[in-house]
Symmetry: C2
Subunit: 200 residues, 2 copies
DNA sequence: GTCTATAGACGGATAGAC
DNA sequence: GTCTATCCGTCTATAGAC
């Protein structure tokens, strides 16, 4: 399909799409093999197990994502601008790594209980710390409404951003940037202190 | 556990909690039987199949929910008040029917492909029509920002409301009403035309 | 209403030929 | 790198005793 992909990467991508669409448990190794045009036993020449496949998908995706989060966090932007950047990068992930985000959204609960997937829980905590910290800084800086419950606001933000993976389709009518603009408009005119009162 | 429940209803409740927690596919009939203190074969004295169990849970819940939606729709409230009432009723469902909402959120994609579950898709459409209609009426009445993209706003609303089932726990620190107040504050101060400019 | 016992299908994974 | 062939565990569901 895409050029320059090793057979292994190609199989990973096929598996990722199936995991994302049908769920990890509900995707059989025979499904993956069928989609790749080979037999199920042949998959084990490339991967140790079905779990290895989903691990590689999630880990490489998350590693890159958190590198970018870290860069934003340590930048010299203000709290609200950082929050906006983090949200934009997250929505971008839905565009660029649709399968991985969908798998994480749908199956993280199941996967994080498995041996070898403890990092999912750890990264979840780090994610939470980053976002709540930015909210608190934004409130302290007067850029975010002081009556916002940080815990609830965090969950609201997190969920509204990531749940978009359920309907957003890369290459669909809306570009990732358009969605980000609209989302941020809805979100910040909700939680940001209004600066202008644009009325039709 | 609860009083006045028939054995059948008791088993349904146990199954619902497991489906909600672990997912439908990932919950075995043995899991359900274990939790109920009986053997798996005995379940089939009460139910035809595992699918029957999840069907009964979802159908009876949704029937009641849509009766209430219909009552709100045909009331004499204004569009924004109707939207607010529909959102409150939905958040209330997360409180009162936590298992059913969680099952629907997590497994509707899989279940709606099964024979006998076509009504899930039909109700989804009805739900969408109701919410987008209220948004459009709200815009026409000047109660909701006219630059809101109705389709995107609908998905935003829908997802932010229902996804709360992932973290909200009945009997937890926040009451359903408190969550609803905060959600509506965040939401409407985002998508509603600001009436006052309360600044700290 | 529950248990014993088991049928029958499907799941992940393996060994070795090609 | 893929195929053939197959093991073995788990799953839903059934039949009939108690």
């Amino acid at each position: 399909m895409a050029a320059g992909l090793s057979r292994r990467d190609e199989l990973l991508q096929i598996a990722g799409e199936l995991f994302a669409k049908k769920g990890f448990r509900n995707t059989t190794v025979r499904d993956i093999a069928d989609a790749a045009g080979i037999l199920s036993g042949s998959l084990y020449h490339h991967f140790d197990s079905k779990e290895t496949m989903v691990h590689e998908l999630l880990d490489s995706f998350q590693t890159q994502l958190f590198l970018d989060y870290d860069a934003i966090e340590s930048s010299d932007l203000g709290p609200r601008a950082k929050l906006e950047a983090v949200i934009r990068r997250s929505l971008e992930a839905i565009d660029r790594n649709h399968s991985e985000v969908a798998i994480f959204q749908n199956d993280a609960g199941y996967l994080s209980d498995l041996d070898g997937f403890e990092y999912l829980t750890a990264r979840n905590r780090r994610f939470r710390d980053l976002w709540t910290q930015l909210l608190r800084e934004g409130i302290a800086a007067g850029e975010i409404r002081s009556d916002l419950d940080v815990e609830l606001g965090y969950r609201f933000l997190r969920d509204t951003v990531w749940v978009a993976v359920r309907w957003y389709r890369p290459g669909g009518p809306l570009s990732g940037d358009e969605v980000a603009d609209q989302y941020l408009a809805i979100l910040f005119q909700g939680i940001g202190i209004p600066t202008t009162n644009k009325e039709s």
